[in-house]
Amino acid sequence: MKYGIKVYLLTIIIVLLLFFPLFTDNYMTHVVVQAGIYLILTWGLFLVVGMAGEIHLGLAGFWAIGSYISALLAVNLGVPFWLSLPIAAVVTAFFGLIIGFTTLKVSGYYLAMVTVGFGEIVRLMLLNWTEVTRGSMGVRDIPYPTFFGASIDTPKKYYLLCLFFTVVVGWVTYRLSNSRLGLSMRAMGNNNLAAESVGIFNFRYKVTAIIVCSAMAGVAGSLYAHYITYIHPDVYSLGKSIFFLVLVIVGSRQKMGGVVISTLGLTFLLEYLRIIGEFRMIVYAGFLILTVVFVPEGLGYVVIRWMGSLWNKTVQYALIIVHQRKEES
């Protein structure tokens, strides 16, 4: 086999996922699309927080830049989605470069505060620079993407679009984290000094992580804008940035699969638990405190590890059965 069995399994899962919308209603699909967009964001954050080991509390700001660039290009200049998305990604990545450069001077808590500051400045600028961003009115009537003439205007159609981008981003995240680059990043995140002493130029990897994360945020921003078709600065709040950080911490800082668990899990939980309404934050804080105090490697990590051992046991069991059958015949 050229690729491991896990790759084949994953391909089968992805193919099956293509048919998912046939079995569910619009609302559920809508939640899944939302989760998919969030997943693109949290995978990017995973690279910065999990691997490079920095606290990033300004992701919503980058997400906003992606959304607004894509939306304004489409609404003001009629730029089609398939062009406005890459442009948005590049512009957002550029802002990532700027923030990345600050890591030359700051890290740890200080960097965290720089990202907070950035996120909030973005939100406030979007809110107040009315001539360009339409301020508190938000941007309306953002056009749906079109695919060979067909408009992608329902949750189920958007699901497929979103699935495509999620798979691509997932592939990029996987390749980056399972490479020598990923190993170097994790080394740097683990011990800055040791990393330097083997010749790693820490700055390079911190900037790379932030730029890639920002590009992904730009993609997610564009996807979001053309789905919801109305964006407003309040969406891109510090609270959202914290939400994304929590998803990475609760999921896993080591394995990208853990982040999938936490993102899907918490998005669904918070959506369907709108009933508890006021207690949302307490539930949410509860997960956070639970993870941080008792399960620091991440709840998602624990789930993935459990799934992994379940898989191993299944394989072993299957081999035993096959062996027994052989002996019987």
Partner: protein, 302 residues
Amino acid sequence: MKLVFQYILIGIAIGSVYGLIAFGFTMIYQALQHFNFAQGHLVMFGGFIGLTAVSATSGFISGVLQVFLVFLLTGAVFALICVGPHFLVHRPILTRSEKKDEGMALLLGTLGVGFILEDLAIIIWSSEPQFFPRIMGKGLIDIAGIGLPVVYVWIFIASIGLVVVINYFMKFTKLGFAMRAFSQDKDTAALMGVNLMQTLYAIFALTYVVGGIAGVLLAPSFYVFFGTGFIWGIKGFTAAIFGGLGSIPGAFIGGIMLGVLESMGAGLISAAYRDVIALVLLIVILIFKPTGIMGKKIIQKV
């Protein structure tokens, strides 16, 4: 010109409260080299507790006595509120045997505390912004020909008063001494008979009390609203960095400087960009002079 002077005076008053918030950050940093990310939320919550304290006391007293009682009640409540987070979050994280990622864990744990405070505020009071009654003096006072609302003078006096009280407490009481010893060198402090666990609680409790009272002081000028937690935190943090994390007087000076700059910026440029000023200041300081005005340089020993 007169207007500028008024901005400066208001800035000093508000800034003195920022200094109190900064004190909270600096105190925890000195003791543990980490930050309490719920500090700003304590300020927010303080506003609400203050509201309740005011309505509870409005029936039978008024004036200076009422103000004093409101502060006392708020302080007492916050000293008690500290218990929950301390035993659920601070202690377990700080007494873990593996000291890895302590900082990140504490950051997120206290963030969780902040969220819970937000939600409690919504549940107990309301998600609507509330106005804080003017119990600290009405009308204007004439300072060199400028009309300054009296409340700002009282706010400033209250802040300074609290600073004096804290200073006295730290220098002349047994517990204060223990807290200073703890911050300087935990191990030596323990050898000298300081009960580390109790002192740790006292340190947090003090920052909770100060945060709460700061909330009462800021409430009259800004409305009481659950969403303001982070903004106070950011401003307090900025002030703390401004003044240099190693020094407590620096925290207050940083606070006042931030207050003045913010006030002038908001008055002269635009009120809407008030918070942006604090944020830009924060980023600029972090990048160019992270040790602040009065801070000390830390040399890593390898």
